[in-house]
């Protein structure tokens, strides 16, 4: 065998050995697929009265991963699509779904009372939480989460008005930190992938 070829062969083997060793020794950082809050920030507090009279306080939910979505029950499309996807995510998580809480918070308090919104989310999953409140209670929450929400009059429609709103899903981790968000239409596999990392 040509000496040069032998040197090249040995060199290649050394390189492969080094690469394999590095892959084993250096732990892989699992990349999230959602939009990451880096660094993670404390999730703004949410404190609202539920339909059964109990108080829902976000800071009391430590230990759970929260999937938070802002929408309204008269929304014919984007909100039910998103809730259907979160339902699917919840089902796919199987035994781990007890640690994941889906919260649907209204952007239409005039129509969505705590009773209406809880009944609505229960169509998707009875464990989902529907929250509403007064405009004074909700406005700071929308603002802190960066939710755009605007009433659009629709005089020719029986709806009377529609609510144009941000359609992101926010993820709050077990320590109460805002970790990730997803745009509308993010594949459920991506959300599942990230939740499995958080639940490890």
């Amino acid at each position: 065998m040509n000496k040069n070829m032998l040197r090249v062969g040995i060199g290649l083997m050394v390189l492969i050995g080094l690469a394999t060793g590095m892959a084993v020794l250096i732990p892989q950082t699992e990349a999230f697929r959602g939009t990451l809050y880096d660094p993670a920030q404390k999730a703004p507090e949410i404190e609202l009265i539920r339909n059964d009279g109990s108080v829902y306080r976000l800071s009391d939910q430590r230990g759970n991963v929260i999937l938070l979505f802002f929408g309204y029950t008269s929304c014919p499309d984007v909100c039910p699509i998103t809730l259907s996807e979160l339902k699917k995510v919840n089902e796919e998580l199987g035994g781990e779904n007890g640690q994941v809480q889906v919260v649907f918070l209204t952007v239409d308090p005039d129509r969505d009372t705590p009773e209406v919104i809880q009944k609505y989310v229960s169509i998707f999953n009875p464990a989902f939480i529907g929250l509403s409140g007064t405009l004074q209670e909700l406005e700071p929450v929308w603002k802190e989460y960066g939710v755009y929400r605007e009433i659009e009059q629709a005089s020719s429609s029986a709806l009377g008005y529609a609510v144009t709103h941000t359609a992101r899903v926010y993820v709050i981790d077990q320590e109460g930190n805002l970790r990730l968000s997803y745009s509308y239409g993010t594949p459920t596999d991506d959300i599942l992938h990230d939740l499995k990392i958080l639940l490890k």
């Binding site: 014919p76 699509i81 659009e152 029986a158 359609a167």
Partner: protein, 146 residues
Amino acid sequence: MRYTLNKKWMVIPFVIVAVILSACAPTSVQRLQATDVWARPGLAGGNSAVFFIIENPGKEDVLLSASSMVADAVEMHRTSMQAGVAKMDQQMSVLIPKGKTEFKPGDLHVMLIGLKKDLAVGDTFDVTLDFEKAGEQTITVTTLAP
């Protein structure tokens, strides 16, 4: 003077009558086919949306309106996303060109406003679609799991 009528000329009155009759007959209505018809569940007093695919084998048509006994009002809407913000616009009519037109989640849909009773999974109901050329066509909608 005697005239003998050639047999082929005797056919002419029948042809004329046939042409007149065909002109007077109603124009055959083009059939539009609706498939994959479904709706989301909804609560009494709330809303739902109906989705379907219209197959138009003929000339362009226009969907003028939709109606149903299950809701106080039935309207056509289109959802759109603009820079991450969900928006919904009422459609006063919807063009149905030759080929497929999809009423699908995140896009066009027939909206049921003010449901008269809960729409549960498995429930079926009728929606009548009124087309400019094809006229009224009733479709049976099945409520599917969200």
